[in-house]
């Protein structure tokens, strides 16, 4: 027995020894090849000359422009009307009405806390002087979310019903998410005009994938037993879908809506590039004027808006746990403060007020229900009953509508409320600008930034750049194909080689290697910074709470806002580009490290400790191996986000495929931009698939998932 285990471990050992040996050998050969080559490796000229992808795309675009623009113009026309309608409504309404429109739903669904928060958000829009812009953004986002949800659920349902359709959609969805919006933003302009319509369509392309995915998984996750019992009661396939499966997957769909809102907000800033009005335009102007404070104010408008919508949509998918009757319910303060006298005193009047409001609401609603029931009963008895019942169930909605009506009535007939009062201004521009300026000239801080810049450039970015661009293309391709073969399989290896051939044949091999190297450096830095932060957060709850808030802010704040400070501190260039990428893409790795480590059940670590393992040992030998799948998912997301950021970094001196997209667009050369954009997508997809397959293997090895 002992002998057997020994031999097994020996073969394992020799196996891993061989693996490492092969990796080392491959690396050395690559190093030798890259040192020997004189310039960056290039694809054979015959291939790049023959493969005129750029020209084909441009010809195709011209053809479409000539022949199909009238269709797209009609579609755009409809979207535009809808958008203008919403926009005009918001802009022409008195500010009190707008505030009530945000406040009341938040109050009803999320309680007093969310209600008060929504009032603060609305105040902030007005106080920073971005009232109109914020409302334009809300209108733009609202319409795109509506359309996303409508089409997204339909596509999601279709995916859930047909495996073939799902398989077809998967790469499409990947592409939609990773394809830089810049690539389709400008062609969209020609087909759909400027302003709201193309912005909404671009947002739909970018924001729809999560809702399609989550609808699909939500429906597929409905348990077999439920489905079987429904079928045994004789429900048809459609009934099964609409009466059982859809309602049961509602939480998942709500989650999707939440994600759509977040992604729509992320694209709103980019939308200014095609003339969509809103906060995006303000942030862009602020950046052109190097006004960090102004940009930050715009960013905060979006950030607060995002948090409001996030909490609002979350409050639908969450059901409150009812308290025992004898406990006084707290409306504003945390329930755990109940033991303090002061908290009870503060909450007392709130409880009273809420009781009064509840009473009024119920009375008003009931009387309206009664009256409308009486009125309609003249025509038809059954409809009257239906209507009465329908109204009387909506205690909060009906009174809210009445409040809104009263406000607009007062505004138009008695006293004009007008737009947001100018006296209530508040500005944080100056302090932020002063802060940034003070840091810019602070010798210690600048010494640190210069050191960091030199370190990253000399030790990471520059060597990797040279290494990757100088290895012959066939060798790099061979390595990718081999990795693809060993992790995923033969089919994927074949696809990988085709995708890489496409990149090479488009003549963007060097650029894509530069992009790859800056993504790798960014991801490495994310790892080096993010994993320790994640570990600390998994041990210390207070740290975790603070970190979560910061990460939320980092993910929602438009990346334009921190580009200028990064530039001022680090100077323009590839290093700044890498650092901006790190800021943007570090949150997932931190979050998932924390998640992975805290999910490892207590028993494992307790067992380890009882065997005398130290904290480090437990972490290193028990927790980390078990958290690996979660870590890899974090890694995976970080990689995708880093790739997505490559399209923005040329704005501050980044190189590679992103710059190629910009240059293509600057010369009105859609084909060139598209080829580079596709290059980014393909690299991202290859790396994504490989790391996902690797995770799956790990999970299987750990017994967490079935093969």
């Amino acid at each position: 027995m002992a002998n057997l285990t020994e031999t097994i471990s020996k073969t394992n050992q020799s196996k891993s020894f061989i693996t490492y040996g092969v990796i080392l050998l491959v690396f050395i050969v690559a190093l030798v090849l890259s040192i020997q080559s004189e310039g960056p490796s290039k694809f054979p000229k015959v291939v790049t000359d023959e493969f005129k992808f750029t020209a084909w795309v441009n010809e195709g675009e011209d053809y479409l422009k000539k022949n199909y623009r009238w269709i797209t113009k009609i579609i755009a026309g409809y979207i535009k009307e809808g958008y203008y309608f919403l926009e005009d409504f918001f802009l022409e309404s008195p500010w009190l009405l707008v505030a009530a429109i945000f406040f009341l739903p938040c109050l009803i669904s999320g309680g007093l806390k969310l209600g008060l928060y929504s009032l603060f958000v609305v105040y902030f829009w007005g106080a920073t002087g971005m009232w109109a812009e914020s409302l334009q953004t809300v209108a733009l986002m609202g319409l795109s979310v509506l359309l996303c949800v409508f089409f997204g659920t339909i596509l999601g349902i279709l995916c859930s019903q047909s495996d073939r359709f799902e398989n077809f959609m998967k790469p499409v969805l990947d592409t939609m998410q990773v394809m830089p919006a810049f690539v389709y933003l400008f062609p969209a302009l020609f087909f759909f005009g400027i302003g709201g319509a193309p912005a909404i369509l671009a947002t739909m392309i970018y924001g729809m994938p999560p809702i399609i995915r989550l609808t699909n998984t939500g429906i597929r996750q409905v348990s077999k037993e439920t489905v079987e019992s429904a079928t045994s009661f004789g429900s048809s396939k459609l009934q099964l879908l609409f009466k059982i499966k859809l309602p049961m997957s509602l939480p998942s769909i709500m989650m999707g809506i939440n994600q759509v809102i977040m992604m729509a907000l992320a694209l709103v800033v980019l939308a200014c590039f095609i003339g969509a009005e809103g906060i995006g335009g303000q942030v862009w102007l602020a950046i052109r004027n190097l006004d960090v404070g102004w940009a930050m104010e715009g960013g905060l408008c979006i950030l607060f808006m995002a948090i409001m919508f996030d909490r609002f949509s979350m409050s639908f998918s969450k059901n409150n746990d009812p308290l025992p009757l004898d406990v006084q319910k707290f409306y504003l303060l945390p329930q755990s403060w109940e033991k303090y006298q002061i908290a009870r005193i503060v909450e007392k009047p709130l409880t009273l007020i809420s009781a009064v409001i509840d009473f009024i609401c119920i009375k008003v609603t009931n009387s309206i229900a009664y009256i409308s029931e009486l009125l309609t009963s003249i025509f038809s008895k059954t409809t009257a009953n239906d209507i009465g019942e329908f109204i009387s169930k909506r205690y909060y909605v009906i009174p809210s509508l009445i409040v809104l009506l009263i406000i607009s009535f007062v505004n138009s007939n008695i006293y004009e409320i007008g737009t947001f009062p100018a006296e209530w201004k508040l500005s944080i521009r100056q302090p932020i600008a002063d802060g940034v300026k003070a840091l810019t000239v602070h010798p210690g801080f600048i010494g640190f930034t210069k050191g960091l810049r030199a370190f990253v450039y000399l030790n990471l970015l520059h060597p990797l750049d040279v290494f990757l661009t100088h290895i012959p293309w066939w060798f790099t391709m061979g390595i990718f194909v081999a990795i693809g073969y060993f992790t995923v399989g033969l089919r994927f290896a074949f696809i990988t080689s085709l995708l890489l051939l496409f990149i090479g044949a488009c003549g963007i091999w060097t650029q894509s290697m530069i992009t790859l190297s800056s993504v790798l450096v960014s991801v490495f830095l994310c790892f080096a910074l993010g994993v320790p932060l994640g570990i600390i957060a998994s041990y210390n709850e207070r740290f975790r709470n603070i970190q979560n808030v910061v990460l939320d802010a980092m993910q929602t704040l438009p990346y334009f806002c921190y580009l200028i400070p990064v530039l001022m501190f680090f100077g323009g260039g590839t290093v700044s580009a890498v650092l901006a990428t790190v800021i943007y893409s570090i949150p997932p790795i931190i979050r998932l490290t924390t998640l992975g480590l805290s999910q490892v059940s207590g028993t494992y670590s307790e067992v380890s400790r009882s065997f005398g393992g130290t904290l480090i040992q437990t972490l290193n030998k028990v927790k980390f191996p078990l958290a690996v799948p979660s870590l890899v998912i974090g890694f995976n997301q970080t990689v995708i986000m880093a790739f997505a950021m490559q399209i923005v970094t040329p704005l501050i001196g980044g190189k590679g495929l992103g710059l190629e997209v910009f240059n293509g667009l600057a010369r009105s050369d859609t084909g060139r931009g598209l080829a580079a954009g596709i290059g980014i997508v393909l690299l991202a997809i290859i790396i994504d698939r490989i790391s996902l397959a690797w995770t799956k293997k790990q999970r299987v090895a750990l017994g967490l998932a079935k093969n």
């Binding site: 302003g195 190097l290 501190f569 704005l651 501050i652």
Partner: protein, 335 residues
């Protein structure tokens, strides 16, 4: 019941949309792309305020980053006009415009594009680009012309440029500045670093100036930067054209004799618009106004200081100028 309700609400909402359609059309309306750099914004505001206050137009302003997107939008008729384009930097002018560029009654250049965008007329602003060093650095190292740059290249070097000096170059590749080519032809041992956007280049220059570090910056006049910071030009050789330096000729240069081994040509900036819009009879006056407009560098420079250094509202500054200097603009207005 449910279906009925949906149908009703659909009908109601479509009615609402239709009713809002009716109000969209009106006669004297134009859509303008407001430039996204301060000088251009001022020129735009001057033009727009003339159209609005003197010619009775209602102009819708759209923030639209300059670049090919803007040219496409104008060709497609989505935007009626845009202001202060610089010929050296206009990415699409030679492809899309047709006809002579007139300044002071003289033809400065003849465009031979497809005419999908109309050249409305020069703005009067004349732009000039050059390389600049901050005054403190020029004094400290005694840099008087571009020939002195090589001696001090190590002071201008960064981690990325190694032994060479670094030029914060013309930020956008599409602007066709050919900085690296110029540096190489003139034998200046510097590396041209394209940062992608004007904002990036200026941000870095501002930070370097605040820290009193030496830097070499590509920039153009009039620009608010000169009002805030003391800069000295390096005096490149005067501009001469080189006919062979085109993409069709595989960028064959003329050595040190001509472009790009020289400074830039004077930029007679122009306003441009959609040809169909300005061919209409009801817009004849607006078209005539654009041919007559002649805004001056000195005026823009003063207003740049007001807006950027004194943080005043741009519209207010333009209004003040307009009220105080009627003799300057009265002649632009068609009778």
């Amino acid at each position: 019941m449910n279906i009925k309700k949906t149908i009703y609400s659909l009908i109601l909402s479509s009615l609402l949309i239709l009713s809002s359609l009716g109000t969209a059309n009106a006669d004297k309306r134009l859509t303008a792309a407001v430039a996204d750099w301060t000088g251009g914004e001022i020129t735009c505001q001057v033009a727009v305020s003339m159209l609005e206050e003197e010619l009775g137009y209602k102009v819708k302003r759209v923030v639209f980053p300059s670049g090919t997107g803007l040219w496409e939008a104008i060709a497609a008729g989505e935007i009626d006009f845009a202001c202060e384009s610089w010929p050296s930097y206009a990415e699409a002018d030679t492809v899309m415009m047709k006809g002579p560029l007139m300044y002071d009654g003289k033809s400065m250049f003849n465009y031979e594009g497809d005419g999908s965008v109309k050249l409305l007329g020069t703005t009067g602003i004349i732009g000039l680009s050059d390389y600049f060093v901050p005054k403190y650095a020029a004094d400290k190292y005694g840099i008087k012309s571009w020939k002195d740059l090589n001696k001090h290249k190590d002071k201008f070097a960064t981690i990325e440029s190694g032994s060479k000096g670094r030029l914060i170059a013309c930020p956008v590749a599409g602007w066709n500045c050919h900085d690296q080519k110029r540096l190489d032809l003139l034998g200046i041992d510097f590396q041209a670093d394209e940062l992608g956007t004007e904002a990036a280049a200026i941000a870095e220059a501002v930070a370097a100036y605040e820290r009193k570090e030496p830097f070499l910056l590509y920039l153009w006049e009039p620009h608010w930067f000169f009002g805030a910071y003391d800069m000295v030009g390096v005096g490149l050789p005067d501009h001469k054209t080189c006919d062979s330096f085109t993409e069709a000729n595989n960028w064959k240069d003329c050595g040190t004799a001509a472009w790009p081994a020289t400074g830039w040509a004077k930029d007679y900036t122009f306003n441009y618009g959609n040809p169909e819009t300005f061919a209409k009879a009801e817009h004849a006056k607006a078209a005539e106004f654009f041919t007559k407009m002649k805004f001056e560098n000195a005026d823009q420079a003063v207003m740049l200081v007001e807006v950027k250094q004194k943080n005043r509202d741009l519209k207010e500054v333009v209004k003040e100028w307009k009220d105080n200097n009627p003799e300057k603009w009265k002649s632009w207005i068609p009778n």
